[in-house]
Subunit: 435 residues, 2 copies
């Protein structure tokens, strides 16, 4: 390992190599400084999108294997791009094989729920100058029916167009008037405001709003345009979620491939499979069937309607937020089906069992200022049989319906067991041969 | 008691009359619905201000008795109004007797710290349609040197002028574009965001900002004006404090004079004396020397520099917020000198010993959703010798310096003992004579 020269050499035991690699990983997580730097258009970052490629959340999948809500989001994206005029035309187009899917994580992109991203969609750009990483996330669509939950009606498409043509350019210009918006202190502050940065982002959204608003008015946009922008931001308590995801992704990109490290660098779900990546194993996915979240359902819906867990948003748990930070957010615990403040505290403490560190930046006042548990260790997950918790929205299993609830999903142990076996086979051999 | 006819009559024991009166008081506190309705100019509400009258915080006082920071704020107000050009001129003017002081509580007005209000200052107007009450509070000046802490330099005066000529008219117009901003749900939500609404208002400020921003842009103000307004709002985490105070005052106005009620309706301090009012005793003040808060000081200052406790802001504790809601705000507990989350929880629980109710609207997630302790009972305070806690800023004792720290003050027992004696003498006699 060239970044740990004093511990290199054929005689170093595997356990020490792992310890050194994980220490390096923890150090990078602690020194990351992701900041919101701009808004760009997806095709400018990922040219192949223009060639009828769509990104999707979770580990790689195929058109044949798509769950209902992700299929609905694909219909919506094709209609939004003008590549189809209806769900029927979209189905026909999909059968021709003209549309290809790619896993968004491979491009440093993370999208909530279906996470379907097409060429014309604007993306937030988050850069970490400390480690030279960059990540992207779409702009949150707001509450109600939304593409990310598999809805594709006219409201959804029109909102996507408004985001593309009005909101995104205004946000991009506003960010030009600002220094890069440093997301670590902002998230740290939001944790003191009852956010866990997954199912509750109201504090962070308010803080971001206060930063953006003075810059949004600089360019003398028409009053009606400004009012529509501020109205949209004012009505969406979850606006910051996608930036929390991008901040987590940019941070975790810095530990994407550290040889010997057992740190989990991504957790994601495509609505069928749950997948993880491990630092020492690079970009390989280890998957198991996605769990159905347990939680609370909106009136008229039950667990029978629920799609299995979906979305790249578990990247925030991978960094120690969301379910890992549940003790910071007692107000959302009930919404997610927890019964008491103590359960929320226990959840955070339990995640401390499978992590190697506490964040020095993300602290929980209710725990006396303890940092959130950070750096999930694959070995601990498997040895203790404690898998990560993920706070999550719940989509209807049929295309076109949308969100029906929220709750907590438990990552499937099998993915971690498979990953540990792969890790052992790769590194035990290498250590023995002195490589 | 004409509002409790079924319990009236000469044969009702005093203890039952008190219970019925307090039940009525609690009911009014629970049904109050204060809302921000506009911004007005102080002299339009209180015409005598134009005749060289100034309002001040706390129980009534005189020019001779003013503490240093309140004297500084008086200098600032006279310079701001153009009635003096310098502190020296102000001192000379004060000696002529041309300036008179009035207690702001007598006009339904509450001001933080010195609470000095002069004719030209804009005031928030808060109305409660449920009980027909109204209250007013000045617009928060923001951080740093400020009139309310006794500073009066050019920065302070210029900021007051900008608030008068730019911010206040814009806020007033914005409020015309909105329905009245209901403050009870807003405060309830802020409590779930780590605010206690006295020394921490960052959540409430963000929520208010998101409500106001879309309305502020409607009138096509120049970009530079809008940017200065949004910049000011963005930099002041305590902006909402004055509205929390006005909401509390409007609510408590509904219980200002209920015969036989032992509920505390106001707590306030003028930097020399601490005073309370009791519902059954109407507008009479009961005072004792103001305590010096214990807490933390900014670098370079110590308790020796501290002025005794000052300001109308204890009105938020009178409603069950601030120190009473400390368990909601563990992030601010350390800033105020508390040592642990448990101390914050204990503080809220202890205040539950001297109150008759828990608010159904103001709930604390960390306490499993328990409401804040509300309706301070004079009898319990005296019998248990537990006096209210007040979260507070600390001013330097000299005029012109400003804030030097923050902490917790404990209301002096003597004021409550005197009030209970007065209550007993008034109502015991009346009950015995059948009046």
């Amino acid at each position: 390992m060239d970044h740990l020269p004093n511990r290199a050499g054929p005689d170093v035991p595997l356990v020490d190599r792992i310890a050194a690699a994980n220490m390096e990983a923890v150090s990078r997580l602690r020194t990351a400084a992701p900041a919101l730097t701009g808004v760009c258009v997806a095709r400018d970052i990922i040219p192949e999108l223009a060639d009828r490629v769509l990104l999707h959340a979770g580990p790689p999948t195929t058109l044949d294997a798509l769950c209902g809500p992700m299929r609905g989001a694909v219909h919506g994206a094709l209609i939004y791009e003008g590549w189809a005029r209806s769900p029927d035309e979209s189905e026909t187009l999909l059968k021709t094989g003209a549309i290809r899917l790619r896993c968004s994580h491979d491009f440093g992109v993370v999208g909530p729920m279906a996470g379907v991203i097409s060429a014309s969609m604007p993306l937030f750009e988050v850069r970490d100058p400390a480690h030279g990483t960059v990540s992207y996330a779409p702009i949150n669509e707001g509450v109600g029916v939304a593409l990310r939950f598999g809805a594709y009606d006219e409201t959804v498409i029109n909102r996507l167009r408004w985001i593309e043509t009005v909101l995104a350019p205004a946000l991009h210009r506003a960010l030009h008037h600002l220094d890069a918006v440093r997301l670590v202190p902002l998230i740290g502050r939001a944790l003191t405001m009852g956010d866990e940065l997954h199912q509750r982002n109201i504090g962070a959204t308010g803080l971001l709003f206060r930063i953006l608003a003075p810059a949004l008015v600089v360019d003398s946009l028409p009053a009606a345009t400004l009012a529509s922008i501020f109205g949209f931001l004012a009505e969406n308590d979850q606006f910051f979620l996608n930036l929390a995801m991008a901040a987590a992704k940019a941070t975790l990109e810095s530990v994407r491939a550290i040889p010997y490290s057992t740190i989990v660098t991504a957790m994601s779900r495509n609505g069928v499979e749950f997948g993880i990546r491990i630092s020492g194993l690079g970009d390989q996915w280890f998957t198991a069937p996605a769990p159905v979240p347990s939680g609370l359902f909106f009136p008229g819906f039950t667990a029978d309607d629920a799609n299995p867990d979906m979305g790249d948003s578990a990247i925030v748990e991978t960094l120690g937020l969301g379910g890992f930070a549940m003790a910071a957010a007692p107000a959302v615990a009930g919404f997610l089906g927890l019964n008491s403040v103590e359960e929320a505290t226990t959840m955070t403490r339990t995640m401390g069992e499978i992590t190697l560190s506490q964040s020095p930046h993300f602290r929980i006042p209710a725990l006396g200022g303890d940092g959130v548990p950070q750096a999930i260790d694959l070995r601990r997950v498997v040895n203790l049989e404690i898998t990560p918790v993920i706070n999550t929205g719940i989509a209807h299993r049929r295309a076109g319906v949308g969100q029906i609830g929220a709750g907590v999903a438990r990552a499937p142990l099998r993915a971690f067991q498979d990953a540990l076996r792969a890790f052992a086979s790769r590194y035990a051999d290498r250590a023995q041969s002195g490589r």
